[in-house]
């Protein structure tokens, strides 16, 4: 997990913490540049390798908006990518079709990933924000038996 979060590269700021400049300094046409510099083929760079500008959401965090959070259980996950597809905030980190975990800088704790997880028991479950992941993993439920 380390090395793939915005926090690891440069730290992230709260959303809305931009410098409030005057009318003469705002960008023309409300155009927001993702990068401060030109980048060749950014599509081939991983997010954490891209030189995102302060105006890109990647450098802003919404972590504090969360009261509950998804916890990921590697032992059960089948790498089906359902959560990656459905997450509305691109906060599932997956590499080469292999699930790595949650981007807690941008996850708002909506629970969609848990909802769409097909395993039994689920590989993602919602816990209180303050719960340590290790403790949470210790409380994981057993496989449910099908009712006969």
């Amino acid at each position: 997990m380390r090395g793939v979060l915005a926090t690891d590269k440069r730290g992230v700021r709260e959303l809305g913490a931009e410098d409030l400049v005057g009318w003469d300094e705002v960008t023309q046409g409300v155009v927001l540049n993702s990068f401060d510099i030109e980048v060749e083929n950014p599509a081939f760079l991983r997010p954490e390798e891209r030189p995102y500008s302060d105006f890109n959401s990647y450098t802003a965090t919404v972590a504090s908006w969360r009261v509950i959070k998804p916890v990921y259980n590697r032992d059960i996950c089948i790498d089906c990518q359902n959560c990656w597809v459905w997450c509305p905030d691109s906060s599932i980190i997956s590499r080469d079709k292999q699930m790595l975990g949650i981007d807690y800088d941008h996850c708002k704790g909506c629970g969609v990933c848990v909802e769409v997880c097909p395993t039994n028991p689920k590989s993602l479950l919602m816990f209180a924000e303050a719960e340590e992941p290790e403790e949470a993993l210790g409380k994981w439920p057993e496989k449910k038996k099908k009712a006969k």
Partner: protein
């Protein structure tokens, strides 16, 4: 490479065809359009130019005018030279996206072939649609005949695309009276026209993948106001570029345009202030009155409706005795917009220089505006001027059947 078209030095074109030829010569990359009378032939002709190899461009058919302008916004943000045309109800449906285009500073050229707004349904010319877009943040140019529809389209690209402007531009022309009236038009050759406009230089184009950008960001109370103020400033300041483009155009063609056109105002006592073809009809009336009755009549006409030529207007009207502001759109419960903007400008000069100002609503739904009616209005203004106050209602209706309709009287003490 697009094929060139051989044009004669004098062509007989209507306003629509003249505008379409200008779009061809500008080699517009994308036209997204939903045709509507009386603007249809502009985009139809562009389509045929593309089909016949005269333009390397794309005609995008869409399902509504809202989609047409949305398509234009997308294509312009992507980095292309973009234009379209509409009228009346189509313009009304486009309005939401007009604000998007100007807010995103995309130099789209929109030909507005002015037509009345329903209900009742009417396909003919008045300025109802033009007036509905007043605050949309576009540079707005007004053509009084087919030649000007051609000329101003060429200028529109050069103005809007200027790095110091980067705003969308409307070119207005009167539905039918200009759009469907063929007159002598002197076009430039394809090479001259293109050289005048120049290559399109994209800014913040979305198809530049090395510099990804976001268009259409949300800004709440902490940002929105500053962005709008910056946009207003850009539109206000665009007059510098407009003047420069008009000057370059005059050098090229000998045809002179000013942000505020004035005719016979040097010694005028009374004036008509108008837009569109009415300007030329009023000039004819003023000439005749000067010869026949010795009335010193003049005509004032905003060529550029936005940015509004306030300085030029008050300079032109200071010291004359009476001016009638003619509005070809029913203000529905207020004085006409041209009247209000004129009075606003005049309120900033010393009282003793201010003319009396009256307001006429006229020509709705294509009602003819005749030379004789223009002369009658001039004579009436002369009457006000002679006694020193407005002797009629301040707002009157010209060319209307039924009992005389008028509102407000001048307050003399």
């Amino acid at each position: 490479m697009a094929e060139k078209m051989e044009l004669k030095s004098t062509e007989v074109w209507d306003g629509n065809y003249a505008a379409a030829q200008a779009l061809r010569q500008a080699q517009v990359d994308v036209v997204a359009a939903y045709p509507i009378t009386p603007s249809t032939p502009i985009v139809e002709t562009y389509g045929s130019f593309v089909a016949n190899g005269y333009i390397d461009g794309e005609f995008v058919m869409v399902e509504s005018e809202h989609a047409a302008m949305s398509g234009c916004v997308g294509a312009a943000a992507a980095g292309g030279r973009v234009a379209t045309a509409t009228s009346s109800q189509g313009f009304m449906l486009m309005i939401e996206v007009l604000y998007q285009a100007s807010g995103m500073r995309l130099p789209i050229v929109l030909n507005v072939v002015n037509r009345a707004i329903a209900s009742p349904l009417n396909v003919r010319g008045d300025h109802g649609d033009m007036y509905a877009g007043r605050d949309s943040g576009w540079v707005q140019l007004d053509a009084f005949n087919a030649q000007e529809a051609y000329d101003l389209n060429l200028c529109a690209f050069k103005i809007g695309e200027d790095i110091n402007v980067r705003l969308p531009v409307m070119v207005h022309q009167d539905g039918f009276v200009t759009s469907h009236t063929a007159q002598n038009v002197h076009p430039l050759s394809d090479d001259e026209a293109y050289a005048f406009i120049g290559d399109y230089k994209p800014v913040d184009e979305m198809l530049d993948f090395s510099k990804p950008v976001t268009y259409g960001a949300q800004t709440e109370e902490d940002w929105h106001y500053e962005h709008k103020a910056k946009q207003h400033r850009a539109l206000m300041d665009s007059y510098v570029v407009i003047d420069r483009v008009f000057e370059a155009f005059e050098k090229k063609t000998g045809r002179k345009y000013k942000r505020l056109e004035t005719y016979m105002m040097e010694d005028a006592e009374v004036a008509i202030l108008a837009l569109g073809t009415t300007v030329e009809t009023s000039i004819l009336a003023a000439k005749q009155l000067r010869e026949e009755e010795g009335i010193k009549a003049g005509v004032v006409a905003p060529r550029v409706i936005r940015p509004f030529p306030l300085n030029e207007l008050r300079a032109a009207l200071a010291g004359i005795k009476c001016v009638a502001a003619l509005d070809r759109s029913c203000p529905m419960g207020a004085m006409g917009a041209l009247y209000n903007e004129t009075c606003g400008a005049l309120a900033t000069i010393p009282a003793e220089q201010r003319p009396l100002v009256t307001n006429f609503i006229y020509g709705l739904g294509g009602r003819d505006f005749a030379v004789d009616e223009a002369k009658r209005i001039f004579r009436e203004q002369k009457g006000h001027a002679d006694v020193g106050h407005i002797t009629t209602h301040v707002q009157q209706f010209s060319g209307l059947r039924g009992p005389k309709l008028g509102f407000y009287e001048s307050k003399r003490s």
